[in-house]
């Protein structure tokens, strides 16, 4: 078993103007997906991320506010899951609920110690 990182990019929910009923529907999709990962022992960790932070770059380094990512570039959160291979991990990502909202999942294997 290996660990894989899911990097979520996608819609800023605050711009989607969801009604309470729609929010609950979105909630259900997430819960069904993540819940299944939990019950199959595949879930390791996961968290949402605050939209903006700091960019620290260069030799000095220079610190600027950022990133100011647009819609589908915005990294909203991550999950760490267990799988046997990149292929299997990729399949696990199919449950991501926001594909139809211009969202995406980047699947990366975590190099073990």
């Amino acid at each position: 078993m290996k660990d894989f990182l899911f990097i979520f990019r996608g819609p800023d929910y605050s711009e989607l103007n969801l009604t309470p009923e729609q929010s609950q529907a979105a909630m259900k999709k997430w819960m069904d997906w993540v819940g299944a990962l939990h019950s199959k022992g595949q879930y390791v960790a996961g968290n949402p991320l605050v939209k903006t932070g700091k960019m620290v770059e260069g030799k000095k380094p220079v610190i600027t506010d950022g990133p100011f990512a647009e819609g589908k570039e915005l990294v909203g959160g991550y999950l760490i899951v267990k799988a046997d291979s990149l292929e299997q991990a990729t399949e696990l990502s199919y449950g991501f609920p926001d594909f139809d909202k211009d969202g995406s999942v980047e699947v990366r294997e975590i190099i073990p110690m």
Binding site: M31, H38, G46
Partner: protein, 426 residues
């Protein structure tokens, strides 16, 4: 290995977010004032966003409602604090005000106060100076937690129209300084009447509309009943008429599944499959009917509910206690002297084999000649009665008119069969 314990995905109760939205909007409106409805709705929106962000990677909190209310509460305290110009106040006083705010705001979030705020919201949305359609739209938005597109879908309208209604209602409230309160005395009685009308309107949108899809229609009926039940749970809303209205809605919604045929047409009561009538709802209807039989006032809802109960009691159409129903209709006519009631009373007279009186009753309805030309139910019933009375000429005439007027294919079929059975005149 991973530290997360194996958990079954928990489920959110149906419409939980909508119901919580209603509660939060009510409480926050009480705190910020009805003129700040925009701020209120934004804050509620942010609360759900936070829930969505935080819950989606983990499991549900044990008490989702409590969690939501807590976040709303904290956001409110934050907003209040930010509005205080603390730089001009000494540190000591500043910290006092901070704790005061927390305590004061906290009081509004007690269960009894939440219920009180919800009642204020219902009463405000149903202020008699607002148009009925605006009342319905505003109630669905702020009390029931529906979104604009959801309201449009439910009422078979469009977003622009709904936005207009909401705007009109909010503007009126703002311009006329409508207070966010529960009226007292006579004013309370009058306001309750408009609330009943709005709830019944809402119920009928769900019950009678065949254009919206079935789930939405059912949703509206259930929501109307939920709000009526909310009224019964509050001391000031729990009147006999409230219980009567709730029992009426229970009886009617028990027939929900048997009302619409396969080709999406309405099946009349006499042809409904009674095995499809929901027994649980009928029982609930009787429970609230019993609760409503106190006090000295017989309302329209009492009578309509008693009539609905007579139908539900009877195993089939033919065995219905028409005599008892006639008495109820006589009383109902006193309170609601409208053509539909008179028509139904005429049908009753016919069931009791008094055809001449039945026919006369219809012909005596004010504006009947116009009704006979435009609303198929009138010529349909009249034609039927003439047929039973042996007047084949008149029977044919009116049944043909009804056949032309009705949009329902099933109805057309039935009417054509009746016309055939009558045979040729002379």
């Amino acid at each position: 290995m991973n530290g997360a314990p194996e958990k079954h995905p928990q489920q959110l109760v149906d419409h939980l977010f909508r119901h919580e939205a209603g509660k939060m909007i009510a409480v926050l409106t009480r705190i910020f004032g009805i003129h700040n409805l925009e701020l209120v709705e934004d804050t509620v929106q942010e609360t759900f966003l936070k829930a969505l962000q935080v819950w989606k990677y983990h499991t549900l909190p044990d008490n989702p409602s409590g969690w939501l209310m807590q976040v709303a509460r904290n956001k409110t305290i934050d907003l209040i604090r930010r509005q205080q110009k603390l730089s001009k106040i000494s540190e000591e006083l500043g910290s006092l005000l901070q704790s005061e705010a927390e305590y004061t705001i906290g009081q509004f979030f007690l269960d009894t106060e939440i219920a009180d705020s919800q009642l204020r919201m219902i009463f405000t949305c149903c202020h008699q100076s607002l148009n009925p359609e605006d009342q319905v739209a505003l109630t669905l938005k702020t009390v029931s937690g529906f979104g604009v597109q959801e309201i449009a879908k439910a009422l078979v309208s469009n977003e622009a129209t709904i936005q207009k209604r909401l705007y009109r209602a909010k503007e009126y409230i703002r311009a006329n300084d409508i207070r966010f309160e529960i009226p007292i005395g006579q004013a309370l009685e009058e306001r309750l009447e408009t609330v009943y009308t709005v709830l019944y309107l809402l119920f009928n949108e769900g019950y009678n509309s065949i254009k919206a899809d079935e789930l939405i229609r059912y949703d509206l009926c259930v929501e109307a009943m939920r709000l009526c039940k909310l009224l019964t749970e509050h001391k000031l809303g729990n009147t006999p008429s409230t219980s009567a209205l709730l029992s009426l809605m229970c009886f009617q919604s028990s027939r929900f599944d048997s009302r619409i045929g396969d080709d999406n047409t309405i099946i009349l009561l006499e042809h409904q499959d009674r095995s499809k009538w929901n027994k649980g709802l009928i029982q609930m209807g009787y429970h609230y009917l019993t609760q409503s039989s106190t006090g000295d006032r017989l309302s329209v809802y009492h009578l309509e509910s008693a009539i609905a109960a007579e139908h539900c009691l009877s195993p089939d159409f033919e065995s219905t206690n028409w005599q008892a129903m006639l008495l109820l209709y006589d009383r109902l006519l006193e309170l609601k002297p409208i053509p539909v009631v008179q028509l139904n009373r005429a049908i009753l007279l016919a069931q009791l084999d008094n055809l001449p009186a039945a026919i006369d009753t219809i012909l005596d309805i004010p504006g009947i000649s116009d009704l006979l030309k435009h609303h198929y139910i009138y010529p349909s019933v009249l034609g039927d009665l003439y047929g039973k009375a042996g007047n084949t000429g008149e029977a044919r005439k009116y049944l043909e008119i009804a056949c032309q007027l009705t949009p329902s294919l099933a109805e057309k079929k039935l009417l054509r069969e009746k016309i055939q059975k009558i045979g040729s005149p002379g």
